[in-house]
């Protein structure tokens, strides 16, 4: 950027030319809506939908417990739904991790060509319409669905199992759609794992469990944590999966928010619920970043010494 004033001026003009329109667009249509939603969450709900422009903190009070008036009351059901969402999201993370971890090892040890083909096969469903993939699970899990029909035909059960509209169905559905999200970061870590280290651990007399616990697990931890956070975030606020596979029985926070907008018509309360979801996600991301930086500090020293 050494140059005369005019060159500098031209560069500044180019920068404005590049950033001007997108910044304006995102400022109005991305930050604007978020700011309005934040404002709404502190406003009084109108009687027939809409808002009254008064400062109002009871939207949050209804969720966290200090609302205690004639019109607005604290209801533990909201925190319960929230806790259930966190729990189902954690189950989704756990199950998809359990499914993808061995698969990542298996694929990392295939010959190069086949490896690439397998990764292609895992990424492909990501491009298949979400609604189509979830529809498949509706067909599988319904009382008259494929699994029940098959089990009854085989004589294993004589009454259809109740699988759809349960927490189990929601978790299975979310695991199914988020498998590529978990697999790819996990695979990136497993692929880098040096098998010589594993051999060395065995040679030095460590058992299988010890080798896993002390060598394999720590070395693949970045992938595990990365995949987990990428799956956790969209699971927590999910709304399509519980609405198709959870029905009215397994409500998640996303469904509760939808209700506030499309049936209860209490927009400020829905906005407050959304802000709580956002806050949870930001906190978990912050924890992740802090954990990662600490992790780097801890592991960096001994590794550097080894290399030196």
């Amino acid at each position: 950027m050494i140059g005369r004033g005019t060159a500098k001026g031209r560069r500044a003009a180019a920068l404005v030319g590049l950033l001007g329109a997108p910044t304006l667009f995102l400022g109005i249509f991305f930050l604007g809506p978020l700011a309005i939603m934040f404002t709404y969450s502190w406003l009084e709900p109108g009687l027939y939908g809409g808002v009254v422009w008064n400062f109002y903190h009871l939207n949050y009070g209804r969720i966290f417990g200090w609302a205690n008036t004639r019109y607005e009351q604290f209801d533990p059901a909201y925190l319960q739904i929230f806790a259930r969402s966190v729990w189902l999201a954690l189950c989704t993370v756990g199950l998809s991790l359990a499914i993808c971890y061995p698969a990542a090892f298996w694929i990392s040890r295939q010959p190069e060509r086949r490896k690439n083909f397998f990764i292609f096969l895992i990424t492909l469903p990501f491009f298949v319409s979400l609604i189509v993939r979830l529809f498949a699970w509706v067909l599988l899990l319904r009382p008259t669905g494929f699994i029940n029909q098959a089990l009854m035909a085989l004589g294993i059960i004589d009454q259809p199992l109740e699988m759809i509209f349960t927490g189990f169905a929601v978790v299975v559905g979310m695991v199914y759609i988020f498998i590529p999200f978990m697999f790819l970061p996990l695979y990136a870590s497993v692929e880098k794992l040096d098998m010589a280290m594993v051999e060395a651990s065995f040679d030095l007399g460590a058992g299988r469990w010890q080798t896993f616990r002390r060598v394999i697990l720590p070395m693949t931890l970045p992938g595990i944590v990365g995949g987990s956070i990428i799956v956790f975030i969209p699971s927590l606020g999910n709304f399509i999966v519980p609405s198709l596979l959870g029905g009215a029985k397994v409500l998640m926070i996303g469904n509760l928010i939808e209700q506030q907008f499309l049936s209860a018509r209490n927009w400020p309360f829905g906005a407050a619920l959304s802000m709580v979801v956002m806050a949870t996600i930001l906190v978990s991301l912050l924890l992740y970043v802090r954990q990662m930086t600490r992790e780097e500090r801890v592991t960096a020293t001994p590794l550097n010494r080894q290399e030196a």
Binding site: A14, W106, R109, N116, L130
Partner: protein, 275 residues
Amino acid sequence: MKRYGGLSRLLSVYGFLFFAFIYAPIVLIVVFSFNANPVNMMIWDGFTLDWYRTIFGFPARLTESTLYVESTRQLYGAVRNSLLVALVASSVSTVFGTAIAIAVARFRFRLKSFYRAFMFMPMIMPDIVLGIALLIFFVSTGVKLSVYTIMIGHCTFLISYVFIVVSARIADMDEKLEEASADLGANSWQTFRRVTLPLILPGVIGGGLLAFIISMDDLVITYFIAGVDSTTLPVFIYGMLRRGIKPEINAIATIMLVFSIVVASAGLYLRARRK
């Protein structure tokens, strides 16, 4: 690797099960879309193309009037809306996303790290939060919900995807080529037009394709900001599913499946070959 002989075999079995879990549900839809049983979709009762005939509005023996009279027209309308939205939204966000990516990679300015972090925001935000934020925004500013609001809504998050794909491409690029171009007397516009743009073009096209696919598939955000007569295909199917499961959905799903697998395979194959 002799040591893991048994474990290896076990892993292979596991790998087979893993792919079965991923693909069996999809295969199931395709197979049962040809099932002639109108009462129970999951009991095989012979081969038929009637569900495909029904969705395209041709007379079929098995119709049992499950689709409503207008459905074929509504379905076509939804497909047209989806394509239109995806085309406009992916084009606009390709231009915007690429512009931000170039600015962040090649210019020095104070807000650079802000832009970089900001580009990840739409990706970490749950769809439903962005969807209702946009809904509140459009309603409170008095904008009528239509295909145009869907296009705007899609752009807000597609820009991020394009930005990430193009940024990765720029990072792979050799900066010396641009310096050489400047040394040889090209001005910055010429350098951009003749050197930078051709080099990042695969990334731009890739980002645009990704944006197109994501826009076509978006359900949650569209669900909140679609007007009454501006349904897209995923929202249309979601509505059908909520009214009840019908065999025709299998046929629609199969067509969508074939379409997305062909497009995605072609894209991924081209990218693999270029490398």
